[in-house]
């Protein structure tokens, strides 16, 4: 697949790969999404906005320059943005492939990275190599994060991203470090069409984490522990949908992760928490029936999710076909609908 290297969105014209019951692979566009969902199905979306989550700073102890990329919000809630997992990066910037970045200067617990006069990152612990637990110190944190942060982006992008390039049509509280990008092709007009057909809409909040670290070892740790919150209204809608035998459709893997993490005894639960849930083939989904998600490279944790939702051989066939249909991958690329639950149960 070619990477979608521009933030320009194709909206309705975005390609849609559909993997469905009876092991079918079909190709459509997002404009037809309404045709694949039924009356009383429930579409659940992530309403998190995305912070500019890459910061350049100087280590107070050694005066060395280091890039800190936020990796996952650690709570306790969106009004308190102090606590994060983060990765340190060495020399270079987003224009250099992350795996070619140099090793960052060593950081130890207790180190402070001075990002600006009004923003300091306190290194709480070093978890694995460059994986850090940090706490921000600032008297005006919300403002300072935007003053000093730049969007996290990768070398396949043509241009530097602007903050608005990373927001979705559902963006509310900003706790994601990379966009919950399955929403990128959607417009409110499409949402209104879905609602007019009788498809329900619900939302939750999940802090989408970093997608790539430049290290195979560290990538294998992804997704990290992430914070989520499910409102009681969403829980009610999920449980009603399930009890009526209709489908709960997750728009994006962050929604999938939040809802599955909060499910108990086949019932969705409301509330906030941190999730470490990972998916692998054979995972028994408790709540989610269908997933809408972006196209991503082989070998990523994302593929594990797809293989858990659909038979791996069907995913393989689908991904082989997209090569011939000029799909584009990464966050601004095309998307897929995985609707195989009935065929694999």
């Amino acid at each position: 697949m070619k990477p979608a290297n521009s933030a320009k969105r194709l909206y309705e014209e975005t390609k849609l790969l559909v993997l469905s019951e009876q092991n079918k692979v079909s190709h459509s566009t997002v404009n037809s999404l309404v045709d694949f969902l039924d009356v009383d199905d429930l579409l659940v979306v992530n309403r998190s906005a995305t912070l500019p989550a890459s910061f350049s700073g100087q280590i107070e102890r050694t005066h060395q320059v280091v890039e800190i990329r936020l990796a996952a919000f650690q709570g306790p809630d969106p009004s308190q943005l102090q606590n994060w997992f983060a990765f340190s990066f060495g020399a270079g910037d987003w224009t250099i492939p992350t795996e070619k970045r140099g090793l960052p200067p060593a950081l130890s617990p207790g180190d402070r990275v001075i990002i600006g006069e009004d923003l300091i990152a306190d290194i709480v612990s070093v978890q694995h190599e460059r994986l850090l637990s940090i706490r921000f110190l600032s008297s005006s944190l919300q403002k300072s994060l935007y003053t000093h942060g730049r969007p996290i982006q990768y070398s396949y992008h043509k241009d530097a991203l602007e903050i608005w390039d990373q927001q979705t049509i559902f963006s509310g509280p900003a706790i994601s470090v990379e966009p919950p990008s399955a929403s990128f092709p959607l417009t409110w007009q499409m949402i209104f069409r879905l609602k007019n057909k009788g498809i329900r809409l619900a939302s939750l909040l999940h802090g989408a984490g970093i997608s790539s670290t430049g290290s195979q070892y560290l990538d294998s740790k992804l997704p990290l522990r992430e914070w989520y919150s499910i409102p009681s209204a969403t829980r009610e809608l999920i449980n009603t949908t399930k009890s009526n035998g209709n489908r709960v459709v997750a728009l994006g893997t962050t929604v999938l992760r939040a809802i599955e993490s909060a499910a108990d005894n086949g019932q969705a639960q409301a509330g906030a928490g941190l999730t470490t849930l990972k998916f692998s083939p054979g995972y028994q989904f408790k709540t989610i029936d269908t997933l809408i998600t972006g196209m991503h490279e082989f070998g990523t944790s994302h593929r594990d999710v797809l293989n858990a939702l659909c038979p791996p051989e069907l995913v393989q066939v689908g991904y082989e076909q997209v090569e011939f249909h000029d799909y584009r991958d990464h966050e601004y690329g095309d998307i897929s609908l995985l609707d195989c639950r009935k065929s694999i149960i």
Binding site: P78, S79, L81, Q142, F170, P173, A174, I191, L201
Partner: protein, 233 residues
């Protein structure tokens, strides 16, 4: 419905909250029990309001700047939460003394439109998702009689206010089925620094106190009469 019961515990965001009508709305709505966030450009003026009204959340920023909208929205969501009512009050008259359109610099018209039209449009877009997901919300844009009547030398401002009227009507017709409504309110000629910048020799006795206009706007909103988008108070 009483004013108190309507406003109590609502999250209200007001731009241009440190002077004129914005300041009057900030103070009155805060008194009525809402959680009020107020966006303004000048830190000192924000601090002054926060000193007098410790419950008011002051957020410094310029809504006319495209780069500032998502940082402002991020700060609003973090410090105030989802917004029930947004007032786009911040407004710019244009360079004074006011001049005929033929003598108006293109850059000046652009600046007026950035503050009075694009700013409210961008901020509304950043605040609307939470309203649409909750199927309720109100966005109030502040208009002027100059949106309807034609006054020589008021060109840039008139154009911007006619535009905000139309923008409000279009948003309203597109979103009212989703539970989100818009009003575009002409608050009358008020005794404000902006009015005196436009008409330095205006007679203060003939101008309304912004507190009176704010009270009438609050009354109109509580009435829940949404039969027309453009209103005068």
């Amino acid at each position: 419905m009483t004013h108190q019961s309507y406003w109590e515990n609502k999250n209200v965001l007001i731009t241009g909250g440190t002077s004129g009508l914005g300041r009057a709305l900030t103070m009155q709505i805060n008194e009525l029990g809402s959680n009020v966030g107020m966006i303004a450009r000048t830190k000192e003026k924000i601090s002054e309001i926060e000193m007098m009204h410790p419950n008011v959340i002051g957020i410094q920023g310029d809504v006319s700047k495209k780069q500032k909208i998502y940082p402002l929205a991020g700060e609003v969501h973090s410090r105030l939460g989802d917004i029930d009512i947004l007032f786009n009050v911040a407004s710019y008259l244009g360079d004074t003394p006011l001049r005929n359109l033929i003598d108006t610099d293109c850059e000046d018209l652009e600046k007026v439109l950035q503050t009075n039209v694009l700013g409210p449009f961008r901020l509304s877009k950043a605040i609307l998702p939470a309203m649409l997901l909750r199927k309720k919300g109100l966005i109030v844009n502040i208009s002027s009689d100059a949106a309807i009547s034609v006054y020589p030398t008021w060109g840039s401002y008139s154009i911007s206010k006619a535009s905000i009227d139309h923008m409000s009507k279009i948003f309203d017709i597109e979103l009212k089925a989703q539970g989100v409504r818009f009003l575009s309110i002409d608050p009358g000629d008020m005794n404000t620094p902006m009015h005196f910048a436009a008409i330095p020799d205006a007679n203060p006795a003939e101008l309304r106190d912004p507190n009176d206009s704010a009270a009438k706007i609050i009354e109109l909103i509580v009435s829940e009469d949404r039969s027309e988008v453009r209103r005068s108070v």
